[in-house]
């Protein structure tokens, strides 16, 4: 694929991809804060004070997240929003990976695969570390 074509695809699709994920993440985050403000403002303030003292909530039980979102749990909605936000770099690298495969540029396919693997290793390191 000529470089101009690569540039055109990158310029047209990257902003669409980034904006879509950003908007989805922001919808979750804003919804979570609205739920907090509407139903549990005191809990939010208490959590804020606890965090100031260095008390975090520890690892999420991801299997329970969906059920808690259905129940309108603000913390669960915010957690999903933050995870969706971290999809932005993942999606961007994955998009480049596909672009380089289409170009049959195997040097860059290998380099991009390394970056993707590094991001996945990050999740594993955090889960056990």
């Amino acid at each position: 694929m000529p470089k101009q074509e690569e540039d055109r695809i990158l310029r047209e699709w990257t902003p669409i991809l980034l904006r879509s994920i950003l908007i989805a993440a922001m919808i979750f985050l804003v919804s979570g804060l609205i739920l907090d403000y509407t139903f549990a403002p005191d809990y939010y303030v208490d959590r804020y004070r606890e965090v100031q003292q260095g008390h975090l909530m520890g690892r999420e039980k991801y299997a329970l997240l969906l059920g808690r979102i259905r129940a309108g749990n603000p913390h669960a909605v915010l957690t999903v929003g933050l995870f969706v936000l971290t999809l932005v770099p993942l999606a961007r690298v994955a998009f480049c990976f596909i672009l380089f495969i289409r170009e049959r540029d195997y040097t860059y396919v290998a380099l991009t695969a390394y970056v993707l693997a590094g991001l996945i290793v990050g999740v594993l390191v955090g889960s056990v570390g």
Binding site: A25, V51, L56, P89, V93, L111, L119
Partner: protein, 275 residues
């Protein structure tokens, strides 16, 4: 609650805006803002910052990529180095004492200030070295009149070595390490400033994303703080990316330097005095 949210939004919108127009990333400004003004522990600030840096980069990159200033191949080559450093750094952030993190942060601020003040004009090369040409890292940048100028790249291994350090600092301190990244690309690899800044912004998100995933999976991100900060930083970064093409970067350097030196002094003082 409204009072807390208002202050977090104000801090994060400001950090996102300055981070975007300075090319240094929002983390440089949001970490000290959360530590100094919101009285958050360093670890909490780092976790929230990594998330916000992802948002900053995403917001700013939309405009940079659309304008064609991002060099995708340079970004991919160097991201191999930064992601490796970031995952190691984010792991170490869980075990390194806070005082060390604060001193490192102050040192990074001074490095950013030094980089900003010593920065000179573009030194565009028309001939790259063998590795850079094999990797097809060259590209085009418009001059002031809009005419495209071809540039080439040199010293990729040296640039990548500095990128491992940039990634390490990103994971440890919750910053995008934009100054180190731009320094590697501009000083060492001779990329034009606009290309370095845009490519750095593109890379910052991936580097911070690697660190953020470690923090999120470890349960070290406080959603109460990270959510409003992410929203504010995104809004600030979008504003910054809109304003940047109309700004003369030269005239802003002294302002960035003053802010960075003040932050370095405050963070260094906090570490040494045990606040």
């Amino acid at each position: 609650m409204l009072e807390i949210l208002t202050s977090l939004f104000a801090l994060s919108i400001g950090a996102g805006f300055i981070g975007s127009i300075s090319g240094l990333g929002g983390g440089v400004f949001i970490v000290p803002a959360l530590v100094i003004f919101a009285h958050m522990p360093m670890k909490v600030a780092v976790g929230a910052s990594l998330i916000s840096v992802v948002a900053t980069s995403a917001g700013a990159s939309v405009a940079f990529v659309r304008d064609g200033w991002t060099n995708l191949k340079v970004a991919m080559v160097l991201e191999c180095a930064t992601v490796t450093g970031a995952v190691i750094g984010a792991y170490l952030a869980g075990v390194v004492p806070t005082v060390v993190l604060e001193l490192l942060f102050a040192a990074m601020m001074l490095q950013s200030a030094y980089f900003t003040i010593t920065k000179h004009g573009d030194d565009i090369l028309t001939k790259g070295d063998a590795l850079a040409e094999r990797l097809e890292l060259g590209g085009e940048v418009p001059d002031q009149g809009g005419t495209p100028i071809h540039y080439e790249v040199v010293k990729v291994p040296q640039g990548a070595a500095l990128m491992v350090v940039a990634g390490l600092m990103s994971g440890l301190l919750g910053i995008g390490s934009g100054a180190l990244k731009v320094m590697a690309m501009d000083y060492i690899m001779h990329l034009p400033l606009k290309i370095s800044s845009a490519t750095s912004n593109f890379m910052i998100g991936v580097t911070a994303g690697a660190g953020a995933l470690v923090f999120l999976a470890r349960g070290d991100v406080a959603t109460t703080i990270a959510a409003p900060v992410a929203i504010g930083v995104t809004a600030g970064a979008l504003g910054g990316s809109r304003v940047l093409p109309h700004l003369k970067v030269e005239s802003l350097r002294i302002v960035f330097v003053i802010i960075l030196v003040l932050i370095a002094t405050e963070m260094g003082w906090r570490a040494l005095s045990g606040i």
